[in-house]
Symmetry: C2
Subunit: 371 residues, 2 copies
């Protein structure tokens, strides 16, 4: 397929909201033993549950390294398509392409630069050579042409769009000096506008407390339910360091308008109680120089915001926490036409993210292919 040096804005393509219709979804199989405890086996079981769940609603493809191919094929359900693809870790939201569409049935990918969340400065694993190729490879799999944005480091989890002219991100991540140190905030904003084809970028100051792996990705902090409507992770506990982050974001968002001039409605999605890594969980992780350690007692960046919005459903991470029910209730109200499917996902959180981080949707073409 072609590598394009133009931009989606120039060509009339835009990134749709995740809540728009999908053609399918990708996941990468977890295995690296310095991130996923006990050789990845517990995480694999949860990834299987996520993939099998999504496969009931949309075309589901799981990508896997050669050495885990047979095991993954055997563990995953028959509705899941399993494809070999070399990878360093399982965060396809971040290593994968973003997709853009036009109104004439066009679908293209954007292949961003990827440096494992901070490269040689603060990256969380080394090397990341396979992961940097995932974007282009997934576009080839889909048989679509690819915008070459390799000179711009961006993880898909650090942005959300409403599909209607607005992007939402965090300063904590996009202005981190280990991503694009030679670019100003204005230059970064211009890049987002060109590639996502948006007119406005909303800059939440910081992401979730202790979301240090990603430098505060927005997809753990806030999400668009639909244009003009946002969920934000929340706590009322003024002694929780998350409190000031959520308040700061709330105040920012309610005082902003989106690209279409709408005032944003902000729904508070109460976070689970602080979740700490246990000794037993820590003991299951290989200790490797250059990979981020998983220490007992470390607080994890647990959040219900990290859900996947699919065709007719929400795949929602839950934690056996009293706030699970509250999250299910709020999302049931916000998404009356979708099944809310809670999945116990502490295991994904232990690896540093959650269901949104391990998924990447392919939007549906605006008109059917065969016409």
């Amino acid at each position: 397929m072609k590598r394009l040096n133009s931009t989606p804005r120039q060509d009339g393509y835009r990134m749709p909201g995740e809540f728009e219709k999908h053609e399918g979804c990708y996941i990468i199989w977890p295995q690296r033993p310095d991130n996923w405890r006990y050789g990845g086996k517990p995480a694999q079981r949860v990834f299987v549950e996520v993939a099998n769940t999504i496969a009931e609603y949309e075309k589901m493809t799981v990508l896997v390294n050669q050495d885990q191919y047979i095991n993954a094929r055997n563990m995953l359900g028959p509705k899941v398509r399993v494809i070999e693809m070399s990878n360093n870790d399982s965060w396809i939201r971040d290593s994968g392409p973003s997709f853009v569409v036009n109104e004439r049935g066009g679908l293209r990918g954007i292949d961003w630069g990827f440096n494992a969340y901070g490269g040689l400065v603060e990256g969380i694993y080394f090397p990341w050579d396979y992961d940097d190729l995932i974007g282009g490879k997934v576009c080839e799999l889909e048989g679509v042409d690819t915008y070459n944005a390799a000179d711009f480091i961006l993880e898909g989890g650090s942005i959300h769009v409403d599909g209607d002219g607005t992007c939402m991100t965090t300063e904590e991540c996009l202005l981190a000096p280990d991503r694009n140190p030679d670019m100003s905030k204005e230059e970064i904003e211009e890049k987002l506008k060109e590639y996502l084809n948006v007119e406005k970028v909303l800059w939440i100051p910081r992401g979730v407390y202790k979301d240090e792996d990603t430098n505060g990705h927005v997809d753990n902090m806030a999400n668009f339910v639909r244009p003009g409507e946002v969920v934000l992770t929340w706590t009322d506990d003024v002694n929780d360091p998350q409190y000031e982050r959520s308040v700061e974001a709330y105040n920012y968002l309610i005082n902003e308008t989106d690209a279409k001039g709408r005032r944003l409605i902000v729904h508070k999605l109460y976070a689970p109680s602080p979740l700490l890594i246990t000794q037993e969980e820590s003991d299951g992780v290989d200790s490797v120089e250059g990979s981020i350690p998983r220490r007992p007692g470390d607080r994890m960046a647990g959040s219900y915001v990290n859900y996947y919005t699919g065709n007719g459903f929400i795949a929602l991470p839950v934690f056996n926490d009293p706030n699970d029910e509250r999250a299910i209730e709020l999302l049931s109200e916000l998404y009356p036409d979708r099944d809310i499917i809670p999945i116990y996902a502490r295991e994904i959180l232990l690896g540093g993210g959650n269901i949104h981080c391990i998924t990447q949707q392919v939007p549906a073409r605006k008109i059917p292919r065969n016409f």
Copy 2:
């Protein structure tokens, strides 16, 4: 996708003739230096020409090991889709799946067992673990369910079907003791009938002289132009060891009828003059225990029959031989509605096969997918 333990015959699926309409075509990128001289570079250039040619007529996918992915992507044209897939060598006709269709738009694959042309007895490379997985992996790529025929060793190049009830093969290959030593000829015939859904198997005694790598695959010896009509590699030189093989096959075929009771029309396709490996060609190949040597002076199994029949075209191997023109002329007559595209393919022959051996078609579904 599902692994099926039923058979195509049981389920009403059949393997269509290669001359029926295709959805697309697969090729595997060549690289192993103990088979492809000079690190595969000369072969890669010819594979690029074949792939780019096919991409003008049908959806073309090239599969490639991780370590050659970027190089392959850069060398291949933009109409070609490049997908990572671990492999031991490039003969997807043999390691890949055969596809079957039904009349209601169904498409499924058959994943045969593969042992590198003879396993530990007479196989031509070791190991073949990646290649044995190619069949199932290509079916997953296509998103189709797969018949599990792993207990039956079969290379796709050892069979041809007319799509109308008849299969053609060689005794030399299918009865070789290094494929399915515990099965009688009748049992093998029964397997072919079950999986290809044919009523009759034509057994040509032997394949092309010196086609020792494959034990005389039929796809280098004879091919169906259409039901009832066959091309057969030929020489008039009674001193050429090929002569008695071609005469033997000719006499067998003209005295047989196909599944529908038709007498076969057999067209003689004159072979190129004997082609010998040069010293320089031999010098470019790594010498490795367990891989078949490429010795200077060895005769290669050159044949024009080893062509690919695609949508609206024939990709025909030529050799800068006086008989090139004769082959083009005959095929132009036999395929009046297809472009005959000669490709100089000595480089593929040096690796042990030709254009048919390095391609695998996916038949078109009988009714469009979206209806």
